[in-house]
């Protein structure tokens, strides 16, 4: 019992630290991706290639003056950012990152806890997250914030329906609500993943889930709650300093949750696309080795003076990581973690890609799209899946 508590505390600490770092660096990645889509260098001044920019942003946000406007509803105004960030971080606790591993003689799962209602837990927690935004909008006592909060609650209620229906279809195939078992049922290769799994491949449901996930996280093209040309900044207009940062972190944490859920529900979680005997464990080695060699080459032919030092350093780091994937001790947990991060990261990249590409919807288009198109598609997909599972399964 005591070892269980100690191990759980260590795991919570590790997951929390990694998650917070990821949240900070996701912002850097997003700025870089959008900058490159728009042919700009992006953050470049703080550290090599702007790598210390997140640290500077964190210091800036912490040291900024924390304004408390006199006309707000104080208890709810202070509760709202707390609710938003709590609900966003809570759902990470049931996400499995990899299989069971042995650390210093103890066998433990790369997951904080496994609930037999894991999927429902994530749905419940994410449906509570809307309170943070709605209450922030209302308690700010500001018309722009109120409109942002109203838009966001209407949008989240509407898009939760296709989201839940899209989740239900792969659950019919996998026949479990535990996220750990869900991955176990998809083991074996890419044709066992729910997105391609018989009797009815869940491609439609995967796309519906992603679109509804974009709307649930208030991302472009569904970012009407914070449409800056109409609403200043939407629901967080009156928030400053760390209270603003809480909303900001909550948005990125929700993005990670949606991507991780898509990975677990449709893309087989930490399972490799093809079995290890056909060399899937060598893919991460190849990826990092190629990245290292490319960085070394560019370091030897630098386009800018400062690259002469930074790029070879990155190259060596990548080569060391590639070598680490070859060690049998580390392979057991590094390879599943690589596949989980690769799949989640690809979906996160899609989030950023869409932000750099698509314009914002008009409000009636947003509502019409979900109620007249997305919802019927999800219902039909669920019905067809249910009939085929009952008939063939």
């Amino acid at each position: 019992m005591d070892t269980f508590i100690v191990i759980s505390l260590i795991k919570i600490f590790v997951v929390f630290a990694v998650l917070m770092t990821t949240l900070a660096y996701l912002q850097w990645v997003e700025r870089k991706v959008i900058a490159h889509i728009q042919l700009r260098p992006g953050p470049y001044r703080v550290g090599p290639h702007g790598l210390l920019q997140p640290l500077a942003d964190v210091i800036k946000l912490i040291t900024k003056e924390d304004l408390l406007p006199p006309y707000v509803n104080r208890p709810l105004y202070l509760l709202a950012p707390f609710l938003a960030i709590t609900m966003a971080l809570l759902s990470i606790s049931v996400i499995p990152f990899g299989p069971a591993i042995n650390v210093a003689g103890y066998r433990t799962w790369m997951q904080l806890t496994d609930l037999n209602i894991g999927v429902l837990f994530v749905l419940a927690v994410s449906s509570m997250g809307v309170y943070g935004i709605a209450l922030a909008g209302w308690s700010s006592n500001n018309k722009y914030a109120l409109l942002g909060g109203l838009r966001s609650s209407a949008q989240m209620i509407s898009y939760e329906l296709p989201l839940s229906l899209a989740i239900a279809a792969p659950l019919l195939i996998s026949n479990t609500l535990s996220l750990r078992d869900l991955v176990g049922r998809q083991a074996g290769g890419i044709w066992h993943w729910n997105v391609l799994h018989g009797p009815f491949p869940q491609i439609i449901s995967f796309i519906v889930f992603l679109i509804a996930g974009f709307a649930e996280t208030n991302r472009v093209p569904f970012d009407l709650p914070e449409a800056e040309n109409e609403l200043v900044a939407g629901f967080h207009t009156e928030y400053s300093s760390m209270k603003f940062a809480s909303f900001f972190m909550a948005e990125y944490a929700n993005m990670i949750t949606v991507s991780a859920m898509a990975t677990l529900l449709f893309l087989g979680g930490w399972v490799a696309p093809w079995p290890a005997e056909y060399g899937s464990t060598l893919v991460p080695v190849a990826v990092f080795a190629v990245a290292g060699v490319v960085a070394l080459y560019h370091g030897l032919h630098p386009a800018r003076r400062r690259d002469r030092l930074s790029l070879p350093a990155f190259g060596v780091i990548f080569l060391i990581i590639a070598a680490a994937f070859l060690l049998p001790i580390l392979q057991g947990w590094l390879v599943p973690l690589f596949w989980f991060c690769a799949k989640t990261g690809t979906i996160l990249f899609a989030f950023m890609w869409v932000r750099g590409t698509l314009p914002r919807f008009r409000y009636d288009q947003l509502m019409g799209f979900t109620w007249k198109f997305l919802f019927p598609v999800a219902v039909v997909n669920l019905l067809v899946t249910a009939f085929l599972v009952a008939w063939l399964g």
Binding site: N73, P75, L76, L79, L115, N116, I117, L120, F121, L123, A124, V125, S127, M128, V130, Y131, A134, L135, G137, W138, S139, L146, G149, L150, S153, A154, M156, I157, E160, L177
Partner: protein, 166 residues
């Protein structure tokens, strides 16, 4: 541990429930009601009914109360003004409340005379599989009747909304 959790969330539930009535602003009441529902979900979880707990949060706290808050925000309902309380309520309120609680307690005692204790975690039929199985075997008829009732309510809501539009 179970008893501590039970007491904590039972107290939170009761405090939030009293707060629903005491608060003058509708939004504050609605948020307190969310607190009641959340702590009830934890109590269900303690009793071993995890599916009901999740459904409680998803349906009540996550859908119905969001709609309530949304409507209150949309109507921009202000804080209620406290009117002077009537003499009847002041004189008769407390004795009638005690009488009501006494009657309820009496009937509960009469109907369930054997004082069996509730054991935390003693109930195991609360998983999603068990609930689904019970719904489609033992309680099939009530389940289907409820679904038809819900369907009629949805159709009714649409008919009423159309009439308004014309």
């Amino acid at each position: 541990m179970d008893v501590i959790l039970f007491l904590t969330f039972a107290i939170i539930a009761v405090v939030c429930a009293i707060n629903v009535v005491v608060q003058t602003h509708p939004i504050a009441s609605a948020v307190s009601l969310v607190g009641v529902m959340g702590s009830l979900a934890v109590l269900y979880l303690l009793l071993g009914a995890e599916f009901i707990a999740a459904a409680q949060v998803i349906v009540y706290a996550g859908a119905i109360m969001v709609l309530f808050v949304f409507v209150i925000m949309l109507l921009n309902a202000g804080a209620e003004v406290r009117h002077g309380r009537s003499l009847m309520a002041q004189v008769l309120g407390v004795p009638l409340l005690i009488a009501l609680l006494g009657v309820v307690a009496y009937f509960v005692q009469r109907l369930y005379p054997r004082g069996t204790m509730v054991h935390f975690g003693g109930f195991t039929g609360g998983s999603a599989q068990a609930v689904g199985h019970a719904l489609f075997t033992t309680y099939l008829l009530p389940f289907e009747a409820t679904s038809i009732l819900v369907l009629i309510a949805i159709v009714g809501a649409i008919v009423l909304a159309r009439k308004e539009m014309d």
